[in-house]
């Protein structure tokens, strides 16, 4: 690990599901994620890895324990403050692309940046082109998002996650819907982001190859951390 700055930390996170019965889905989960780290969360279906990811995302606030992002405690903040934190510091990539169908690819990428309001409209457009270029989609920029292939759409959604240069990128099965060629493509992009941009990626995955090639894997079972594997690369 090149850099040991803690970017995200959890302190005994626990969470219950109440439907159909009270059930402890996360139990005493504590870990740290470092700047520039490519972290994967693995485990069997229902082990709580997605639930954990959504707790980390600040969108799910009904949990026990504490969450720190960039050293700042985010547990207990108001929803509007959390929205501002997401806008600035967190990017999302889901299994499904969730692009807005009425907008062009470029606009889809621009929207989170326009919301953040840090740059002028022209700068945002420039940055969006840059991100799309990086993902090899510059020539598709002005097409409606619904007209692209699945792999292209997923890459547009990655560009959207990157537009505000977030410190953390959270991914839920980012390659789940992609064929192996596209999946490899996405993986390479992630790898590049960690090493070159110093961004932290926390990805939930079922794909063992994907997990094995990351920096570190946390395996969950029955809501608890079963073990942590660090892969020595390079």
């Amino acid at each position: 690990m090149k850099n040991q700055t803690v970017i995200l930390r959890t302190q005994s996170i626990g969470k219950y599901f109440y439907d159909p019965i009270r059930f402890k889905v996360l139990d005493d989960v504590s870990f740290e994620a470092y700047a520039g780290e490519f972290l994967t969360l693995v485990g069997k279906s229902g082990c709580g890895k997605s639930t954990l990811l959504y707790c980390l995302s600040t969108m799910d606030t009904a949990y026990e324990g504490e969450l720190f992002i960039e050293g700042q405690k985010v547990t207990g903040k108001k929803t509007d403050e959390l929205a501002a934190i997401r806008s600035r510091a967190i990017g999302f990539v889901f299994q499904f692309h969730y692009l807005l169908p009425e907008f062009s690819c470029l606009k889809n990428v621009m929207i989170p940046a326009l919301k953040l309001g840090k740059y002028s409209h022209r700068e945002v457009e420039e940055r969006a082109y840059q991100k799309l270029d990086m993902l090899g989609l510059k020539d598709q920029a002005l097409k409606p998002a619904s007209k692209l292939s699945g792999g292209q759409q997923q890459r547009v959604s990655i560009a959207r996650a990157l537009i505000n240069d977030p410190k953390i990128i959270l991914c839920d099965e980012p390659t789940g819907n992609l064929d192996s060629k596209n999946a490899q493509n996405v993986f390479d992009i992630f790898k590049q982001l960690c090493s070159e941009m110093g961004q932290t990626i926390i990805a939930v995955t079922h794909d063992n190859d994907f997990a094995k090639n990351s920096d570190r894997t946390i395996e969950l079972a029955d809501g608890k951390i079963l073990n942590t594997k660090t892969y020595l690369l390079d």
Binding site: M59, D80, Y98, L100, I111, P112, G117, H121
Partner: protein, 411 residues
């Protein structure tokens, strides 16, 4: 920049659903047009009936009311029995005592725009064997004309002769017809005091109000005083107009302490007509409100549908940093755009309706359909239209703002 993106998203939603937007907007259009139409009609009716009323009635009238005889010893408590034989109306004379001092006092009040003395006498009009009952109005013609615009109702002759002739009279058109009299013919007037005067008809007026036209004549105030064998201080009524007739009741109460005589405002005199107007107004307003409400439901429905179809979009917007209030702004703005389009079309449609109907001849005393442009109606309907659409947009928008993105992403 921050608010712009919300506007941009709202506009994109609107533009990609032109048809639905138009349907929702047309609902508002119908509501607004109906509101404008019915309220303009009510205003038109109100204005028309007022014009009719003010042709013969002043805003305020001061007269001697009937008095009933009082016991010599008044009751000290409600339980005390006071004996009085055969109580009677004790009005001996209809005259106001010292009327010109009172008139001067009334004219001094700054809210009074004009005031004039009147002598009203119950009379019979005769021509040969035919006899009609009526009221002769002794007036100063210049003042009365200023108050009631008698000149505007004249169909023959002129008012000028009345100013200096005690034997001239201006009669209602139906009196002239029934008695078969024309200009320069003689009319015999018999008063309740038994005085008979033969007067020359110098003018005929028609207010198109049957009761007025078949009972009223104007004559010189001194001629009317002669009819009751009284002198120049015999004045039965003081008529006064104020600047805003709607405040007549308040000003009648303000004027009452000045005099011991009865001050009556026109709204009290015409309470029945005004009550009818009010009921019509309430009915038409509630009907147009109901239509607007239905239009609001249209907008509510379409937004609800949009939101149900766009759960994914809302979830990703929330994930990428849009706060609840941004989501509310986006959807309320969409409702508002539909409302603005609908209201604008409604204003145009309402104006066209008014324009067409105001040219429709209905005959009778009204001549043309009594409808007219009232800017107030257009302003209130715009405000109502926009408020209702904002309300209709806010409810689904709030629902959208409360959507839990995690539930969407995990499904």
């Amino acid at each position: 920049m921050r608010s712009n993106i919300n506007v941009e998203i709202a506009l994109t939603h609107i533009f990609t659903r032109k048809r639905q937007t138009l349907v929702a907007a047309l609902g508002v259009t119908m509501g607004i047009a109906m509101y404008i139409f019915s309220n303009s009609l009510m205003k038109g009716f109100g204005k028309y009936s007022r014009t009719e009323i003010f042709k013969v009635t002043p805003h305020l009238r001061i007269y001697k009311d009937d008095e009933i005889s009082k016991p010599l010893i008044e009751a000290k408590s409600p339980r005390q029995v006071v004996i009085i034989h055969n109580p009677k109306i004790t009005t001996l004379s209809r005259t106001i005592i010292n009327p010109y001092a009172l008139l001067a006092e009334v004219k001094k009040q700054d809210y009074i725009s004009s005031a004039a003395p009147q002598v009203n006498v119950d009379v019979f009009y005769q021509n040969g064997k035919t006899q009609l009952k009526g009221v002769a109005n002794g007036v100063n013609m210049v003042e009365a004309d200023a108050m009631f615009n008698i000149q505007g109702t004249m169909v023959a002759g002129s008012l000028n002769a009345l100013s200096n002739s005690l034997s001239s009279v201006v009669v209602g058109s139906r009196i002239a017809n029934k008695l078969n009299l024309g200009l320069d013919d003689n009319l015999t007037i018999v008063s309740s005091a038994g005085v008979v005067k033969v007067m020359k008809i110098v003018g005929i007026f028609s207010t198109k109000n049957k009761a007025t036209d078949e009972s009223k004549v104007y004559l010189h105030i001194a001629a009317a005083q002669q009819l009751v064998k009284a002198g120049p201080t015999y004045i039965t009524d003081i008529y006064a107009n104020i600047k805003n007739p709607d405040e007549a009741l308040a000003y009648s109460q303000l004027l009452q302490p000045i005099t011991s005589y009865k001050v009556e405002d026109w709204k009290t005199t015409y309470a029945d007509i005004l009550a009818g107007d009010l009921i019509r107004q309430i009915m038409s307003t509630s009907v147009s409100m109901a239509i607007l409400l239905v239009a609001a439901f249209g907008i509510y429905n379409i937004l609800n549908m949009t939101i149900s179809q766009k759960l994914d979009d809302i979830a990703i917007l929330k994930a990428t940093g849009f706060a609840g209030r941004d989501i509310i702004r986006i959807f309320v703005l969409e409702a508002l755009i539909m409302g603005i389009i609908g209201t604008a079309l409604g204003l145009i449609l309402g104006a066209i309706c008014i324009q067409i109907l105001s040219g429709v001849y209905v005959g009778g005393p009204a001549d043309y359909f009594p409808i007219y442009f009232d800017p107030g109606v257009f302003i209130t309907s715009t405000v109502f239209g926009l408020l209702i659409t904002i309300g209709a947009g806010y409810l689904p928008a709030r629902r959208a703002a409360r959507i839990d993105p995690v539930a969407i992403f995990r499904k």
